[in-house]
């Protein structure tokens, strides 16, 4: 193919919107980081530029005065327990649905997957009273359980499609050697599907770390707040206290783990999300 001047100009023209969108995405995030180093006075004076000096005072304030330390701990617990419980529940079910043909396996798969399309907001009101009955309201472990079950449809969906790529002959060989089905699941299937398990776990962890609305409904006392709730609280306080610097510092605390995960697992995350999205 020949390269004409028109083609070169066209390519440059295409780059303009791409660069503009890059700025539109990165600048607000970049600026949020800068803002976390500014004092409140400086944010008013110079909201969008570089800080005069890089001070960590806002982080210290957020950490101690606004109990971000507790919220980070709570978010870690919810994320870890939620992600682990999702796996414990989803792996055996995905394996049974994909590999053991039984009557109703197809129905069960459709039941789980169609739950992805149902607006859960209807279920949250009864769930509120159910958690109250179980003494799990205002309880981060209760929230982790709700999170885990809410991600079951997505996790089962992705894991079944992943398991279908593992050759059957390995299980058959292990069964002939006398391995129990429990052993096959634990020692053959799980190691072989580790890549899929890691992908869904990262996706679920980001989801749990970021989640806001169920936490808002199901948690009440501030010592149980997750990071999302703590930030929301600081944000509504900032209208009166002008604690913008503290707010930005806590936004940064919330977003850094996600950036790190994304930097490491960028391909897995985008692949996992597009696969999970194909569920309409």
């Amino acid at each position: 193919m020949k390269r004409s001047i028109g083609e070169i100009l066209g390519k440059a023209g295409i780059r303009i919107p791409l660069i503009l969108w890059t700025i539109a995405v990165l600048y607000p995030i970049f600026w949020m980081f800068l803002g976390s180093f500014k004092s409140n006075a400086e944010i008013y004076r110079n909201p969008w530029g570089f800080p005069e000096s890089f001070s960590f005072q806002n982080f210290a304030d957020a950490w101690t005065n606004y109990n971000i330390d507790t919220s980070v701990f709570n978010s870690l617990i919810v994320t870890f327990v939620g992600a682990l419980l999702t796996l414990v529940l989803a792996i055996p079910t995905a394996y049974a649905i994909e590999r053991m043909k039984f009557r109703g396996s197809n129905f069960l798969f459709i039941l789980y997957v169609s739950a992805m399309m149902i607006p859960m907001v209807l279920g949250w009101i009864p769930l509120f009273f159910l958690l109250m009955e179980f003494n799990l309201l205002d309880n981060i472990v209760g929230l982790a359980i709700v999170y885990a079950v809410s991600q079951l449809p997505f996790t089962i969906f992705v894991l079944t499609s992943f398991l279908s790529t593992i050759p059957k002959s390995l299980e058959e060989a292990a069964a002939i050697d006398g391995m129990s089905p429990y052993g096959i699941l634990l020692k053959i299937i799980m190691p072989l599907s580790m890549s899929g398990i890691i992908t869904v776990t990262i996706m679920n962890s980001i989801q749990f770390w970021n989640e806001y609305f169920m936490a808002l409904i199901f948690l009440q006392s501030s010592e149980n707040y997750t990071l999302a709730l703590a930030i929301d609280f600081i944000s509504s306080e900032a209208q009166y206290t002008n604690a913008w610097g503290t707010l930005f510092a806590s936004l940064v605390i919330a977003i850094v783990p996600v950036i790190v995960l994304y930097a490491i697992f960028q391909r897995r995350i985008s692949k996992g999300m597009t696969e999970g999205a194909i569920k309409g």
Partner: protein
């Protein structure tokens, strides 16, 4: 096989039963009892739970705020579909077919907002719209358009449209990737054939690219519809709380307010049932509208 039938059933039960019990308790039961609650006057304590038949639904029909919440939801659905699909399609075509060297960089950057928390996005954009400190107003002033500046989220007219931009900002990467996946699967020979027939880039897009990525377009549109109807209340809650003067309330945020702020739980579930029914009807109608004969060559 060495295992007996009984062993096989035991293993099946081990795999399926605990998960199904948890799913039933925390997903199925709440959904069905949501339907059930919607026939009760229920303010939170079981002592005050009174069966009132379809009264919640009568109230729903006569509630002057409800039609606005529905309109707001569909306003977000339509503007998001238009904004996201046009931009995502443009970026997807640019990054797959224009042979841009740094395409992976754009792909990674554009997707990044998709993994950010709605709270972080909402607060960030609340600040971008801030009348005194925000980027939007200072940008307009910089361009000499002082008369266009306004308190975006505090204005009854502008608050709802202002919520569209953050949603597009946060959503575009995912749909761009889905469309890129579709375009990557199109055989190069179609474009070569189109080139020989003298079709220019624009014509190639309409005659080759778009028909062949139609499945991805369809899934993307359905996905935007479902996630918006079922989840738009989160960005509303974070950025405006439904205000000013109910001008940004969507169905979900109104449900939240009725149930968890004003403790009208029975009425809240009736709103939830309405959201469920409207979502199902919308998805059904869209699937009819977007049914397009599969293109095969």
């Amino acid at each position: 096989m060495v295992q007996s039938k009984k062993q096989k059933y035991m293993f099946l039960a081990f795999c399926l039963v605990p998960t199904f019990i948890m799913f039933s308790i925390f997903t199925l039961y709440p959904l069905f009892s949501g339907l059930y609650y919607s026939f009760f006057d229920f303010s939170g304590s079981s002592a005050n739970m009174e069966y009132i038949g379809i009264e919640n639904y009568i109230r729903l029909i006569n509630d002057a705020i409800i039609p606005n919440t529905i309109i707001h939801d569909y306003f977000l659905v339509v503007t998001k579909i238009i904004g996201i699909m046009i931009l995502a399609m443009f970026f997807a075509v640019a990054l797959t077919q224009m042979k841009i060297k740094e395409a992976p960089f754009y792909r990674i950057v554009f997707f990044f907002p998709n993994i950010m928390s709605v709270v972080v996005i909402g607060i960030l954009w609340t600040f971008i719209y801030n009348p005194n400190l925000g980027l939007v107003n200072s940008g307009l002033e910089f361009l000499g358009l002082e008369s266009w500046t306004r308190p975006w989220l505090g204005s009854e007219t502008w608050a709802l449209p202002s919520l569209v931009l953050p949603s597009i900002w946060a959503g575009i990467g995912l749909f761009m990737l889905m469309l890129m996946g579709g375009i990557a699967n199109i055989s190069k020979s179609y474009y070569e054939a189109a080139e020989i027939d003298g079709a220019n880039g624009w014509k190639q897009f309409w005659k080759v690219t778009l028909p062949l990525v139609w499945p991805q377009v369809k899934i993307s549109v359905l996905y935007i519809v479902i996630t918006t109807l079922n989840g738009s209340f989160i960005i509303v809650q974070v950025m405006t709380g439904g205000g000013p003067n109910n001008s940004t309330h969507v169905m979900g945020s109104y449900l939240y307010q009725q149930a968890f702020v004003q403790y009208n739980f029975g009425y809240g579930t009736a709103i939830g049932v309405m959201i469920l029914i409207l979502s199902l009807i919308t998805v059904f109608i869209l699937q009819l509208l977007m049914r397009r004969d599969k293109v095969e060559y």
